[in-house]
Symmetry: C2
């Protein structure tokens, strides 16, 4: 084991969930940054915006009028990347030019009628309503014979390609199983067949013993910076119980998930005193009719900020051409998040 | 084959070079964009900037003074992500927490002493000098027993994480073979063993027959939008001759590569009349001492802009959690690039 010191020296870590390696360069966080800076989010938004296509009662681009919803509101994406009525078909030229028709559904989920809120500013009860929508949508879409995978996600912040600040997420559900969940299916199955247990359940046992990557935990969920995190403050939200999807959760577990989501997003906002951008999403078993007993439900948070509200990590040259890479260690990131207050910083501003 | 129409309907395409699928949603390019916009590059830079740490004669952060170089200039990265003197070592907890020490070298390549130039504004002769540096660096680094892979790349533009506009690229060379070239090694080897020919050579034959994805070609190189492109205007630059790395190229082939690089980057700049941001890099055989006969040298260009100098494609929620996705078709992108002038737009401004 020699003098190898992963807190200071370059090393690779293995992601057992998708089978890929990541390069960690802890010493590199000292480099100066003179490049692009993001504008910090100083916007004070009104609770209702007459020009927002997601606010209650407003008219969308296609002429439809939103109901005067009071909790959540779900509708078919007016510009969905996937549509149900694609004719099937495929081409294959020499095994090198291969394509297949793909079909599916795009949905938009408004988390709240309030234009000025985000998840960390909502109550646990209100986030619980979002959890219930995720559950219902997964169940309903997953039951369709033409849908074999349901991806629920949220892009938060302009830097994450979000074009409307009204709190909302999306669902892209489709016929085939996309690349990332397919890799996780393979990896979890291999582990389960070898050990007879859930990969993530075993992983939680180790992390609860080590503690240093854990950010928040309650009776049913653990939030941690995974050992193999790519994004600077990436986190993984895992239920203690080995379940394959949201529909298997008890009421208490769904309440606890709402609390976990609130707690991690509050800490994110508090870290740099800004509305913390991220992409986040649920990974659940494919809805292809198989049991997928090895699958262990979880949520990923992928936030880009690195050193402040304005300096982000770029996944560019080396990362695109060669390998995922990070500068600060996951252990340092977890410590920074753990030491944040569990009360949103804006509440102190009031 | 039914009514499947890949120019208008969602479909998946297979990337034979890395074995992954990509989702194409051509109908979606019509959606309106109200989100983050990048600032177009209107900067008029001076030929020499006294505050630039890459300009000739200037002092870098670590106190070293750049020579008064007239062509290219290469030095060890002052903030390298990889360093040679890492002690070896590894950890493994239950197969779930796995890490290994990693060592390597980071280098910076200044393409020109002129602070105000970029590759598309340089002459073919001057780009040829950059090609020669790439070749020498690959040869020298690759000959080291502690270096088994050499990644040469360029991040251009602030939106691609580039912190200094002085024209330059980087090299990260390391002990292990990173993820992307490892996948390409596997895929090319499998094809070669099955067919006895180079995957990319066979692919070029098909593309030259079909023509619709080809942007530029000369006697030795073809520039095309690959059938499986992820980024909106992604291109692949492939030598007609099946060689594994730059050191095998003839002088005529290196001149022709310089011309191909100039021609594709001029067309990029002309497309939206802006200094077109991208990450680009060379993929060459690992330098682990094996022959890797199946490897076929190539360059990737990954540019983020989608619809204008200010509207980019975001690889976020669905892309990070599920699968790579694009809106415009590769065929449309190739057509747009093909119809650009081969003279840089700034020359018309003079
Ligand atoms: O090395 P630079 O130019 O400081 O940094 C840039 O390129 C690196 C290699 O792709 C990335 O890891 C960084 O995120 C990016 O900002
Ligand atoms: O669907 P939206 O919010 O218009 O678009 C956003 O999320 C999508 C799914 O991650 C991405 O493909 C787009 O690049 C991004 O801008």
């Amino acid at each position: 084991m020699s003098d190898f010191n992963p807190t200071e020296q370059a090393h690779r870590r293995f992601n057992p969930l998708n089978g890929e390696w990541i390069l960690v360069s802890p010493h590199r966080s000292k480099r100066p940054w003179q490049g692009q800076q993001e504008a910090p989010d100083r916007s004070q938004r009104p609770p209702y915006d007459p020009t927002c296509y997601l606010c209650p009662g407003n008219t969308r681009a296609n002429g439809e009028v939103n109901p005067n919803y009071e909790g959540t509101f779900v509708f078919d994406n007016d510009f969905a990347a996937l549509t149900p009525e694609v004719p099937t078909g495929a081409t294959d030229i020499g095994g090198l030019l291969r394509a297949e028709a793909e079909s599916g559904v795009g949905r938009v989920i408004c988390f709240s009628p309030r234009h000025d809120l985000t998840l960390p500013e909502m109550s646990v009860q209100d986030i619980r309503r979002v959890v219930d929508v995720w559950t219902d949508e997964y169940r309903t879409l997953g039951a369709r014979p033409d849908i074999n995978y349901v991806q629920i996600f949220e892009n938060k912040g302009q830097v994450m390609g979000c074009s409307n600040p009204h709190p909302h997420g999306q669902i892209w559900a489709q016929r085939t199983v996309p690349g990332e969940p397919a890799k996780e299916t393979t990896q979890q199955l291999a582990y389960f067949e070898k050990n007879g247990r859930s990969l993530l359940a075993d992983y939680l046992v180790i992390e609860e013993r080590e503690q240093e990557r854990i950010v928040f935990a309650n009776a049913h969920w653990v939030v941690l910076v995974p050992y193999w995190a790519i994004w600077p403050f990436e986190t993984l939200v895992v239920p203690r119980r080995h379940v394959q999807d949201l529909t298997q959760l008890t009421d208490a577990e769904k309440d606890a998930l709402a609390e976990a989501v609130q707690q991690i997003t509050i800490r994110y906002d508090n870290l740099f005193q800004t509305s913390f951008p991220y992409s986040a999403g649920l990974h659940q078993r494919p809805t292809d009719g198989q049991a997928h007993e090895s699958w262990h439900l979880h949520l990923h948070f992928y936030p880009p900020l690195l050193r402040s509200a304005t300096v982000r990590k770029f996944m560019v040259g080396y990362e695109l051409l060669a390998n995922a890479q990070r500068d600060i260690t996951p252990e340092y990131a977890a410590q920074r998040l753990r030491e944040q207050s569990n009360v949103h910083y804006k509440q102190h501003l009031d």
